[in-house]
């Protein structure tokens, strides 16, 4: 059996059910739910975190990868270039066909 079709039991008596239904109906009928959109931006936290990263970008003295001096030193000390055989060995890879594994 891949998954269960048994529904969860809901512990709610008739009066409570009618009460909830009434509240929901009133909420929909008045259109009050649209107000929540003005208050809640559901992507707000994504934008806040993104802003944090752009702030980090702007405060760096160097903002282009080819100016990372320690990185260039590493290539120099280990005596290889991007896409050279050594770089292929350390920094490049291949991909597998997972539909036939």
């Amino acid at each position: 059996m891949r998954y269960s079709y048994k529904e969860k039991e809901v512990k709610l008596n008739r009066r409570e059910f009618l009460g909830f239904a009434g509240v929901i109906a009133a909420f929909l009928w008045t259109g009050a739910y649209t107000v929540t959109d003005l208050i809640v931006d559901r992507t707000k936290y994504i934008k806040m975190r993104t802003a944090g990263l752009y702030q980090d970008d702007e405060k760096q003295a160097k903002r282009q990868s080819h100016h990372n001096q320690s990185l260039l030193n590493m290539y120099k000390k280990m005596n290889f270039q991007p896409l050279s055989p050594m770089a292929e060995e350390l920094f490049h890879t291949h991909y597998v066909d997972r539909s036939v594994l």
Binding site: K8, M48, R49, P82, T93
Partner: protein, 418 residues
Amino acid sequence: MPKTYQANELTGIIKIDADKCKGCDTCKSFCPADAINGAYGATHEIDNERCLQCGQCLVNCPFGAIEDTVDVVDQVIEKLKDSNTTVVATVAPAVRVALGEEFGMEPGKLITEQMYGALKKAGFKIMDVNFAADNTILEEGTELIHKIQKYVLNQSVEGELGPLPQFTSCCPAWVRYMELYHPNLRQHLSSAKSPQGMAGPVAKIYGAEEVWKVQPEQIFCVGVYPCTAKKLEASRPEFTAAADYWKKKGHTATYQDTDVVLTTRDLARLLKKLNIDVRNVEPAEEKDNPLAEYTGAGTIFGATGGVMEAALRTAYFVLTGEELGELHFEPVRGLKEVKTAEVPIKLKENGQEITLKIAVVHGTKNVEPLLAEIEAGNSPYHFIEVMNCPGGCVNGGGQPINPMGTSWTGKFKAILPW
């Protein structure tokens, strides 16, 4: 063994707790791979063969019913106590703008120095994955430039190159999606490893020799990522470049480049277990640590469009011989699902003008039309960035769970007639 995984790969990372699941279908609406089974109202279950391990269902479940089952926090604490082991934390860009949330700070608060301070107090050595992101740009950008020289300018270029358009390969969930659902197009992925794939070998080769001056076998490399799929990626059997390198120099041990991965949530849990609070820890700058140097291009890898923007900054310079005047490239920023742009480039050798066509996609499902164009042979693009999670890694499946992100009312509105 599950059949869409290679031997020894971590699988089943994301699980739904049947007791907590209410069958609300929110997870299904966030799943990029249609990997969740279960009728509306009934307990849901993840089909591990289809799952990308991205954790989008986990961070968006309104009931907290979905778990990350791979917990290495105690193992890392043991390693930190062992004086013979150099425990290196490689920390991804998006962690520094979200870790604070677990300690009551506002979302997006940039706390790089506090994060370094907390890691040092816990006993970690630090390598910033932003360094590896810069490294990725050098490799992936050079690859793109070679492809442009070969296919656009018809120059002869040495070495084996995949076809254009080139896709970014930084996002492990996207890479698994390509390998699983469009394996015939996988040659379009950049052959460059992700920053995690590069950080491991750098730490265990260059870091061991030049920075920490220890034997590579003594290094225990702990990836800290905003991502659950990175746990799978770290376990890929071919990611043993450092061990292979050292074997040629007489060493015998075999180990993964990145030994274990902590998510941002895991790191917060680890720090709390050690009674370290990022709010009152002594900040550290790591100025004299070469593996903590990074540029602005490296740090924006954590947001949608960031890899593209970083690649453009370097590719433009290499092709034209001039730096981009304005580094802020607006067309690739923001939350539109598919962003496209054309960048005019005047080649430095002969003044010839070409137009670089790029696309940026977040939310893996949105890439399907672009893949169809490639299948049909009429894709206009040269370079396409894909990040699986909406917004990019800042909204990854390993990030702090933010209540603003649940989609209850979104679903609710979908059934209304107006």
